[in-house]
C-alpha cells in the first residue's frame, strides 16, 4: 500500500511523454489550431474531442509531422517528445515516425500479405536481424493487436481480404511492429460496425499503459470508455482538459457541458 506522501511523490516524477507549448497551425491563411498547451503521458489514453473542424485531427497530425506532406501547412510553437523539439531541423522525420505511430480513420492495409503488412515497418527500419526474429515481431505484434488467433493460419493471404475491423486491427499491429512510444489514432472506429468497434476499443484498453495513446473521436461514449484524459477543442482552441471522469461528470466550462450533452456540435 502506498501512503499519501509516496503517491504524491510518484506523480510529480512522472514526466510527460509529449509536451505541447503554444502550438499554432496555419493552412495558408486559415488559423486551424490556436495556441495549444498540453501534456501527454506514457501511461494514459488521451481523447481529443470536439465538433468537426475544431482542429483536433490537425493537432494529431502535428505529433508525427504528417502535416509536412500538406502544402501551405505551417506549424509554430514547440512540440517536445522526451524533451526534444520534434520540429527541430536536426530531427529526422523518418525516426520520429518510427517512434510515433499512427492509425488512420479508414483502415489502409497495403495490398500485400498479412505478414508483409506487419513486417513492412520492421523491414524498412532494419529492426529484425534475421527471418526468425522478424517472424517473432510479426507474431507478437498480431498477438498484441488481438488478431493472431484469427489470422495465424493465413498469414500469406492479402491484407485487403480481411474484414473492416480485422483490417483496422492489422493496421494497429503494423504500427505496433516498429515498437513506437506514442500511437496516434484518428477516429479509428468511424468506418467500423459496432462489434468491430468494441474489439478495437478493447484493444486500445489492452495497449494503454504500454504506449502513450492519443485518440481523436467523435463518439462521446468512446472517449468516456477508453480514455483516462480528455481534451475538448472548439474552433481551434483548447477549451478544457482534465481527467475523463471529471470532464464527463463535472465539466468546468459551459461549452464543454453543452457539447457533451449534445446541445451543439
Amino acid at each position: 500500500m502506498l501512503d499519501m506522501a509516496e503517491e504524491k511523490d510518484l506523480q510529480s516524477t512522472v514526466k510527460p511523454k509529449v509536451t505541447l507549448r503554444d502550438v499554432h497551425v496555419h493552412y495558408g491563411d486559415v488559423h486551424a489550431v490556436n495556441g495549444i498547451d498540453l501534456d501527454l503521458y506514457s501511461d494514459k489514453v488521451t481523447a481529443l474531442i470536439g465538433p468537426s473542424g475544431c482542429g483536433k485531427s490537425t493537432l494529431l497530425r502535428c505529433l508525427n509531422r504528417m502535416n509536412d506532406t500538406i502544402p501551405d501547412c505551417r506549424v509554430d510553437g514547440e512540440i517536445l517528445l522526451d524533451g526534444k523539439n520534434i520540429y527541430d531541423a536536426k530531427i529526422d522525420v523518418v525516426q520520429l515516425r518510427a517512434r510515433v505511430g499512427m492509425v488512420f480513420q479508414k483502415p489502409n492495409p497495403f495490398p500485400k500479405s498479412i505478414y508483409d503488412n506487419v513486417a513492412y515497418g520492421p523491414r524498412i527500419h532494419g529492426i529484425a536481424a534475421d527471418r526468425t526474429s522478424l517472424d517473432e515481431i510479426v507474431e507478437s505484434s498480431l498477438e498484441k493487436a488481438g488478431l493472431w488467433q484469427e489470422v495465424k493460419d493465413r498469414l500469406d493471404d492479402s491484407g485487403i481480404a480481411l474484414s473492416g475491423g480485422q483490417q483496422q486491427r492489422l493496421c494497429i499491429a503494423r504500427a505496433i511492429a516498429v515498437s513506437p512510444e506514442v500511437i496516434l489514432m484518428d477516429e479509428p472506429c468511424s468506418a467500423l460496425d459496432p462489434i468491430a468497434t468494441a474489439k478495437v476499443e478493447a484493444l486500445i484498453d489492452e495497449l494503454s499503459g504500454r504506449y502513450a495513446i492519443v485518440i481523436v473521436t467523435h463518439s462521446m461514449q468512446q472517449a468516456a470508455r477508453v480514455s483516462q484524459k480528455t481534451v475538448f477543442f472548439h474552433l481551434g482552441e483548447m477549451i478544457e482538459q482534465g481527467d475523463t471522469t471529471q470532464i464527463f461528470t463535472a465539466p468546468r466550462e459551459e461549452r464543454t457541458r453543452d457539447y457533451i450533452t449534445g446541445r451543439f456540435g
Binding site: P111, C171, V178
Partner: protein, 459 residues
Amino acid sequence: MTNSTILVLIALMAMFAFAFMRQKSVAVVGGATEALHSLPRYHGYFAALLVLLPGLLVLVLWLATGKMIVENLIVSGLPDELAAVYADRIDLLINRIRLVAENGTGVESDESILAAAARFNQLYARGIIATLVFSFAVGAIGFVHASSKVEPDFRARNSFERILNGVLATSSFLAIAITLGIVASLIFESIRFFQQVPIEDFLFGLKWSPQTALRADQVAAEGSFGAVPLFAGTFLISLLAMLVAGPVGLFAAIYLTQYASQRTRNIAKPVLEILAGVPTVVYGFFAALTVAPLFRSTGAWLGLDVASESALAAGLVMGIMIIPFVSSLSDDAITAVPESLKRGSLALGATTAETITKVLLPAALPGIASAFLLAISRAVGETMIVVMAAGMRPNLTANPLEAVTTVTVQIVALLTGDQEFDSAKTLSAFALGLALFVLTLVLNVFALSMVRKYREAYD
C-alpha cells in the same frame, strides 16, 4: 434536284412534325399539360424521329445501291454489238459511260455510249425523285402514326428513349461491324496469298525478297517471302524504343505524381501531351535528318561503322515518341493507388522512395505493365518514323548500328505505286498486315486482361 436536297427536305419535315405534335399534345388536353404522361416536347421528339429515321433509311439505301441499279439497267439496254465487244470487261464499258455522264460529252465520240450516258443521267435523276417521293411517303406514314398516338396516356418519353437507345446501339454495332469487315478483308486476301506461298515459308523463312516473275527465264525470278527478317527488324526497333520510353516514361510519371509540386505538374503534363501531339512524320524527319547523321558521325569518331539508316536512330526517336504514352498511362496507374496507402507508409517512417518502390509501384504494377504492353503494340505498328529513318533492306541482325527494315516499312513499299492485286507480291502485304494485327491484338488483349485480373479492389 440532288441528294442533299432530299436530306434537307426530310429534316424540314421532321422539324415540322416536332412542332406540330408538340402543339397537338397540348391541344389534346386543352392546355392542361399536367394531364399528359410525357411532356409536350417528348411527343415532338418522338414524331420527329418517326419521320426522320425511315426517311433517312430510304436515302441511305438509295445512296448505297442507286448507281449500281442504274448501271445494271443501262447495261441490259445497250446495243448487242457494243455489249459483245466488252463481253468480259463490262466494268470498262461502265467506266466509259460514267465518264461521259459526269464530265460532259466532250470526252466521247461513240454514239451508243453517248446515248447510254444520257440515259444514265436521266435514270439517275428519276431515281432521285423516286427516292424523294418514297422517303416522303415513309416519313408521312411515320407522321400519321405519331399523330394517332398523341393522347394523354401515351408514354412518348419512354418510346423516344427506346428509339434513341436503338440509334446509339446501332452506332456501336456499326463500329464493331466495320472492324470485323476490315479483319475479314485482311483474312481473305491473306488466304489468297497463302494459296501461292506456303504459310510455313512465310512464318519461318529467313529471306524476304518479294518479287514475282513475269517470265520464267528472267533475272531474279525466284521471289521468297520469309517474314522473319522483317519481324526481327520490328522487334529490334521496338525493343530499342522501349529501352528509351520505358524508363524515361515511368520515371517521369513517378516524378510528376510523387515529387513535383503542383505548379511543375501543371506545366509539365501539358508539355508532355504536346509531345504526344507532334505528328509522327515530324519525328520521322527528325530521325532521318538529325539523329541518324549524328549517330553516324559519332560512330565514325569512335571508330564504329554506323549505317546512315541505323536501327538505333529509328528506335531512339520512336522511343521519344512513345514517352508521353508510357508516362501518362503510368501516371494514371500510380494516381489510382489510394492516397491512404501512401500516408500509411509515410506514417510508419518510410521515406518517399521506400513508399514508391515498396507500396505504390507494386500496387500500380498491373496498370504500369499494361501501359508498357500498349506502348509496345504502338511501337510495333508505328510506320512513319521507320519509313523515313529505318532502312529498306531486310536484314536479320541484332546489331542496332546496322540498317534494318520493319513489317510496316515493307507494307508501305509493297503498296506504293501501281499494283497488280493478284500477284503474290501485293498480296503479301495483307499477310504482313494480318500478322501485325494478330501480334498487336494479342498484346492489347493480354494488357487489358492483366489490368482487369490483378487490379486490387480498393473501396
